[in-house]
């Protein structure tokens, strides 16, 4: 799931939860989904440091940042 999709779904859930005609079961399911989505979003934003790599003859290799200084 992309960040956009997660945020969009989260927005839908908040909107749905704010409406009155929801069963308890349904609202709880939505709430749980929302909590999970918040977590997904947060992980995407604060996740591990990304890799800097390069294509080398069809393979992917680490890109040494000193390479850029040549």
């Amino acid at each position: 799931m992309t960040f956009e999709e997660a945020v969009k779904r989260l927005e839908e859930i908040v909107k749905e939860l704010e409406s009155d005609d929801l069963t308890l079961e349904k609202s709880l399911a939505l709430f749980e989904e929302g909590v999970a989505l918040s977590k997904t979003c947060q992980e995407l934003l604060e996740g591990a440091e990304g890799a800097i790599e390069k294509l080398a003859g069809g393979r992917v290799e680490p890109f040494e940042e000193t390479e850029g200084e040549a």
Binding site: T2, G34, L45, G50, A51, G58
Partner: protein
Amino acid sequence: MAVLSVSELNRTVRLILESDPLLQEVAVRGELSNVHLHSSGHVYFSLRDERASVRAVMFRSRAEHLAFRPENGQDVLCQGRVSLFERDGAYQIYVDTMEPAGVGAQYLALVQLRERLEKEGLFAAERKRALPLLPHRIGVVTSPTGAAVRDIITVARRRHPGVSLLIAPVLVQGAGAPDSIVGALGELAQRDDIDLVIIGRGGGSKEDLGAFNDERVVRAVATFPVPTVAAVGHEVDLTLVDFAADRRAATPSAAAELAVPVTRELLTQVGALAGALLRSERLRILRRREALLALTNRRVFLRPMTLIEPHQALLARLEEAMSRAAVERLLTTKGHVLAVIGRLEGLSPLATLRRGYAIVEVGGRPARRARDLGIGQRVRTTLAEGTFGSVVEDVQE
């Protein structure tokens, strides 16, 4: 004979020059020299041939429409008007348009290619795609050496440390450049883990931009499967790749800024949504609780368990959600999200348990329906403080 001041003399000569219709619409061909691209955007230069030279100026309002970067030695055709700069007593050409004359055929071919691709709709505004809000992995098509790639890495990481970059090293100038760039784009296009591509070249004003006007390169950019950001041209020398890309930036750093959001800002947005989520759910639970209290106060219900049961299920499921490592982590991380997510604690089932509710578990799972229980089955009941085991004696559905 009347004695004139210098100012009067210069003004008189200027007026004479400006009153000559021939001089007010001239086309002059010559070689550029003393080119000075002023920070104001005005371009100052001389035009010369073997025997003579004349000063010229192109003001920003005109210069910003230049399709190329003027450089010393270029053979150009200028159109404009002749006047005198009174302060220096120097006559000069005020240039409206300037085209390369020496590379006439090549320039014409470029103009024609641009018109053809434009007609085809390759540069159309409705083709432009929005960039992903939070790119996961960005392909970077540029020279692996030089400032461009370094700037992109630095800026992208500073804005979003989680972003991954996949650099596709290419030749950005010379005869082999178009093949090299088309090949790299083709390789990136086949991957499914790239959600954005930056195509750029290093700094330096003398670089040959030919590769970024090559039809195959332009088409590869225009039809690339994911959004593209070009960081090829500068203010005055846009290339066709700049037109073909979904967005263009003046520098590689600016391209990285366009491509990568500042995660702090997005965290705030997510935090606000999480806050709204909690508020709505808490409100709902309060409403349910009031409804339940209203019922219990009437003392008319025959089977109290059927009324309480859904709420026990609610508690159980809330606790389940709360105890997940996911939520735990959410609660213990820093930042905006934490502040809002922290309100989850207000929803803690423990708070509810303290009011006298209990959670019944069978085999480690919360019991939701009485009919799922068997007589003689062992169940565990959690109170606000401590738990106890018991055996089911009877079941009423």
